[in-house]
């Protein structure tokens, strides 16, 4: 079967075989928030911001394929509040000083906080001790802002396919490490791509920045996901 029918919040949708709920929703003009997902790289289901309800169960929409006749709940008050609480958790479990962050205005975490009108997180700040690593010639890594989405781990590869970044440690101590030899070889273009891949300001290019003025940045004027909803 090549074309499947399913619904999102009652809206009739069509999906191609093998499409995930997030991909099919997008093709049908429905926004499901994502954070660890990046088009073109294999989904990891790491952040759960895309959680939808199918058959009374919560599922990650970025990893779950559509099946024929599937009934998906997306914008229910419960799911929206759970998504907001995930955003708030990510804010308190790192050190996010947006006013001094170069990614501010272009950051997907911040944009989701705006979308969900987060005035202040409901959870206590954890003030974790995280470091900045400026050892890579073209990039610096700010662990304070890393949300462990694994986009860089999955998406940044050397020419021979080897991974440049990787997870080190476990549990609350996980950090993004890098292969020094491969990371040192990253050129300007690859560094820019790594920065673009990172949803937050944890990978920032050295020597350039603040090119777009406040007011003109990606999420200054319109919410993330808004382009789908306005269409």
């Amino acid at each position: 079967m090549s074309e499947m029918k399913f619904t999102i919040d009652g809206k009739e949708c069509a999906a191609k075989a093998g499409q995930t709920i997030v991909e099919a929703a997008r093709d049908n003009g429905v926004y499901i928030p994502t954070l660890c997902h990046y088009e073109g790289i294999k989904p990891a289901g790491a952040c759960r911001i895309c959680t939808v309800r199918v058959g009374g169960r919560n599922m990650a929409a970025c990893t779950t394929p559509v099946t024929n006749g599937m009934i998906v709940e997306n914008q229910t008050p419960e799911l929206e509040d759970m998504r907001k609480s995930i955003i708030e958790m990510l804010f308190v479990e790192g050190n996010h000083m947006c006013p001094v962050c170069e990614k501010s205005g272009n950051c997907e975490l911040q944009a989701l906080a705006y979308r969900y009108t987060m005035l202040a997180p409901r959870f206590p700040y954890l003030w974790p001790k995280r470091g900045v690593d400026a050892s890579i010639p073209k990039l610096y890594k700010d662990g304070n802002r890393c949300i462990q989405c694994l986009r860089c781990v999955r998406g940044v590869r050397a020419a021979d396919g080897r991974k440049v970044f990787g997870l080190v440690n476990r549990g609350g101590h996980v950090r993004i490490g890098h292969d020094a030899e491969l990371a040192n070889a990253l050129g300007d273009e690859e560094a820019q791509r790594a920065m673009d891949l990172c949803p937050v300001g944890a990978l920032i290019r050295k020597g350039v920045g603040y090119a777009v003025p406040i007011g003109k940045r990606k999420y200054d004027g319109a919410p993330i996901g808004g382009e789908l909803e306005r269409a």
Partner: protein, 179 residues
């Protein structure tokens, strides 16, 4: 009926949030028709003269004086608002939170390149610096949070209007920003 009374303070902040209050432009004329100010840098009243309806605080707590002042505000204000990133999460001053206080003081007063034979200030007149910068809600109960660095004038205005009229707070996309 007497006008609602507003008090404001800047703790470990840069006065940018207060500047943003002034940024409501000509609406400030409406504001002074609607409210009276008590203790505030805006009218330079230094001590509380009465119980206030609304307290607005910019900046977090980085020293003992900030904490005393904040507790005083909690006692004298029925509603307390954390205004701006520093009040909500410490902001720029909280960038020292991962660094031991001694290291910060030594860097600022002894080792910094422009210092010549410095000493670390230690006078009874000076407030004690805290081990880290504390957001307001970690010290007293906070009723409302208005983010931004600084919060936009429209956010401040909308919040004051909602509080004074008892209507829901209008939060269009453009007014909630963290920078």
């Amino acid at each position: 009926m007497s006008k609602p009374v507003v008090a404001t303070a800047s703790l470990a902040g840069c006065f940018g949030c207060h500047m943003s209050v002034l940024d409501i432009d000509e609406r400030i004329l409406t504001l002074i028709d609607l409210v009276e100010f008590d203790k505030s840098p805006i009218d330079d009243i230094k001590t509380f003269t009465r119980q206030c309806d609304i307290g607005i605080i910019e900046g977090g707590c980085c020293n003992s004086e900030n904490v005393e002042n904040l507790r005083l505000f909690r006692k004298h204000c029925n509603i307390l608002i954390a205004l701006g990133e520093c009040a909500i999460m410490g902001g720029l001053p909280a960038m020292r939170n991962g660094i031991p206080v001694r290291e910060c003081l030594e860097e600022a007063y002894l080792n910094c390149p422009t210092v010549d034979g410095g000493i670390i200030p230690n006078d009874d007149e000076l407030p004690m610096i805290l081990d880290r910068v504390y957001p307001l809600h970690e010290i007293v109960k906070i009723d409302y949070y208005l983010p931004g660095c600084p919060p936009s004038a429209d956010l401040i205005w909308n919040a004051l209007v909602a509080l004074l009229k008892g209507t829901p707070l209008d939060l269009p996309y453009e007014v909630v920003k963290f920078d």
